[in-house]
């Protein structure tokens, strides 16, 4: 750090608000799209796993394997194929969510009490009705726990997407630039915003879960 540089230059921040906002939006895109894709793919894999339990082991192994690939290496491998595009960022960020989300879905479905499943079957629910109207809603608490974890993880991981450069780099771009130019304001701001974003998203997801599961908190008899 050159002598005389301020640790945190509020004036610079106030002068660059539109640019910072763009980075935040980029970061949210880098998080939201992989998370959505991850949820859809994991739900599909989990439904297959409850219908054909033999697929559970291999799916767990595969999602675990994908999780171990270093993110920088993944970007490096995909860049020659997809270039400096969002796809290059979305693919690894999506695969990283699968391990958490697949486990969340399968444990969520697995936690639905068997007597409730039997009652549903005995009363004439079709398989699809039972899945959509009984198993999925009852699995929501465990699924949401997985989604929260995946969201927070992805927000952190998405900073690595800075390697994709200025157009899609998100908050990671702020951090990288700050380090490269010995300008602490930038990387401190990038890190702080990333943490704030994680807290905010987690908080919102808790609210979503509460809205989806009014029954889970209904313990005290009203009136």
């Amino acid at each position: 750090m050159p002598p005389g540089t301020k640790i945190f230059d509020v004036g610079w921040v106030l002068g660059h608000l539109p640019g910072i906002w763009d980075r935040i939006v980029q970061h949210l895109t880098l998080t939201a799209v992989p998370l959505m894709l991850g949820i859809v793919i994991s739900l599909g894999l989990a439904v297959v796993a409850i219908r054909r339990p033999a697929t559970y082991g291999p799916t767990t192994a595969l999602t675990g394997l994908l999780y171990t690939i270093p993110s920088l290496a993944a970007f490096a491998i995909l860049r020659p194929i997809f270039g400096l595009s969002l796809i290059t960022a979305f693919i690894p960020l999506t695969t990283y969510t699968l391990l958490i989300l697949f486990r969340a879905f399968t444990s969520g479905f697995g936690a639905v009490p068997t007597d409730i499943l039997e009652a549903a079957e005995g009363m004439g629910y079709t398989r699809r009705q039972r899945l959509l109207r009984v198993e999925l809603p009852l699995a929501v608490p465990l699924i949401m726990a997985g989604i929260r974890l995946a969201a927070v993880t992805t927000i952190g991981l998405a900073t690595v997407a800075a390697v994709l450069g200025d157009t899609f780099g998100g908050l990671g771009q702020l951090i990288t630039e700050g380090i490269q130019t010995f300008f602490p304001t930038k990387y401190l701001l990038g890190a702080a915003l990333s943490v704030l974003l994680a807290f905010l998203v987690d908080f919102l997801l808790v609210r979503v879960e509460r809205a989806l599961t009014p029954w889970a908190r209904a313990r005290v008899a009203p009136g």
Binding site: P113, D115, A119, G122, G124, W215, A218, V220
Partner: protein
């Protein structure tokens, strides 16, 4: 009851067998879950399937709504083979109640009750009307319970909701798998009584599984006693089974106190009443004395103007002449009515240390007498297997009773568990 107009249908098991490993059952290494079961449940009756665990009673029940498919044989409802019907449509026409109730925790009580109507595509308004009607029917105030979640209800309340849910689409048949097994004995007794009262109006055909012989005797119009290996050991009315157990297994399963159990099923109206010699205050003493001497008890029963009992007067306490006065009466005998069970009547007589009880009608007027001797005679009359010596003879002839370790229901349970393991 406009909403529940469909009365019961005939359910028939025709040589139904179920094995989870048919090849092994043929070799004799794995017993069948249900072995050649044939029985007919008449429309509108409660048939209780009872037996130790692993005897095939729940398997038999679940074959009716095809949660389990039989290996061979046929089950018909009003003559129609259940396997010819579309699975979900069949199940929506059969009420289903299980021990853990299985209410949907994410649905309100009102939504839970309306489950099958919702699946059948009823309008929201009709669903709501039906669930409120049924909540009221099972004794839960709809305004209070409709919008609660199952977690906010007690075990007994949840069980009532379970019954209401099973009745929602007005099915002709109800399958109840240990429906009152998860609640404490006091609540269970109340739920049983409420359900029997409800059944008087709804008249569904009910298949009811329990391992508790007392519950079977109380709830059943008919009782099917199962033994390990899925064999139907006896099928008949509770009284028939208590009076004449078909095998040693049944005798042991119903227990040594089956005589007492019969007493609780029979009522005072089942024994012939003995006419009472009555007299009123002011009657001629000499005539009353004569009547007391002639009566088998050696007493006259003094009654008031409305024929209500005042007490007994012994022959020796009646003066040779003059009039009877109320002070002569000893108010000792317990009074019973025709609906009193023989068990309660006998108990009251034993408590009062007397041989005779006075039977009165609703207004309290004397109808006649019941005696310990008459009850004993009634008990002997229906009992075709008076001693355990006879039971041993039956057992030797009964190939199914080879399992000698099954000495009581508890041990039979244990044996079943070991075989299952």
């Amino acid at each position: 009851m406009t909403g529940l107009a469909t009365h019961g249908a005939v359910v028939q098991f025709d040589h139904v067998s179920k094995s989870y490993d048919p090849a092994a059952t043929k070799r004799g290494t794995v017993p069948a879950a249900v072995n050649d079961l044939s029985l007919t449940v008449p429309a509108g009756k409660i048939c209780v399937l009872v037996g130790p665990s692993g005897c095939g009673k729940t398997t038999s029940l679940k074959m009716v709504n095809r949660l389990i498919e039989p290996t061979s044989g046929r089950i018909t409802i009003d003559g129609v083979d259940v396997t010819t019907q579309e699975l979900t449509a069949l199940r929506r026409r059969i009420g289903y109640v299980i021990q853990q109730v299985g209410l949907f925790p994410h649905h309100t009580i009102g939504e839970n009750v309306a489950t099958v109507p919702r699946l059948m595509g009823w309008s929201n308004e009709r669903q709501r009307e039906r669930s409120e009607e049924l909540l009221a029917l099972v004794g839960l105030d709809p305004a209070k319970y409709r919008d609660r979640f199952p977690s906010q209800l007690s075990g007994g309340e949840r069980q009532r909701v379970g019954v209401a849910r099973a009745l929602a689409a007005d099915p002709p048949i109800m399958l109840m798998d240990e429906p009152f097994g998860a609640v404490d004995p006091i609540v269970r007794d109340r739920l049983q009584n409420e359900f029997l009262r409800l059944q008087e109006t709804i008249a569904k055909t009910i298949l009811f599984v329990t391992h508790d012989i007392d519950e079977a005797i109380k709830m059943g119009d008919l009782v099917a006693v199962f033994q390990t290996g899925g064999v139907l050991a006896q099928f008949g009315s509770p009284l028939e089974i208590l009076a004449a157990p078909a095998s040693q297994f049944v005798a042991r399963f119903v227990g040594k106190d089956r005589g007492l159990k019969r007493l609780s099923l029979l009522r005072v109206s089942d024994v012939p009443l003995i006419p009472a010699s009555t007299a009123r205050p002011g009657d001629d003493a000499a005539a009353a004395r004569r009547r007391a001497a002639e009566s088998p008890q050696g007493y006259v029963l003094m009654v008031d103007a409305a024929n209500r009992p005042l007490g007994w007067v012994a022959r020796d306490d009646i003066p040779e002449s003059g009039q009877l006065v109320e002070a002569m009466a000893n108010p000792v005998s317990p009074t019973v009515n025709k609906r009193t069970t023989l068990k309660d009547a006998l108990s009251m007589m034993l408590d009062a240390d007397v041989q005779t009880g006075v039977v009165v009608d609703r207004s309290g007027a004397v109808q006649g007498l019941v005696t310990v001797a008459a009850i004993a005679a009634k008990m002997q009359e229906g009992d075709h297997t008076p001693s355990f010596d006879d039971l041993e003879t039956i057992a030797t002839a009964d190939q199914e009773s080879a399992s000698e370790e099954a000495v009581d229901p508890g041990a039979a349970d244990q044996a079943a568990i070991e075989q299952g393991a």
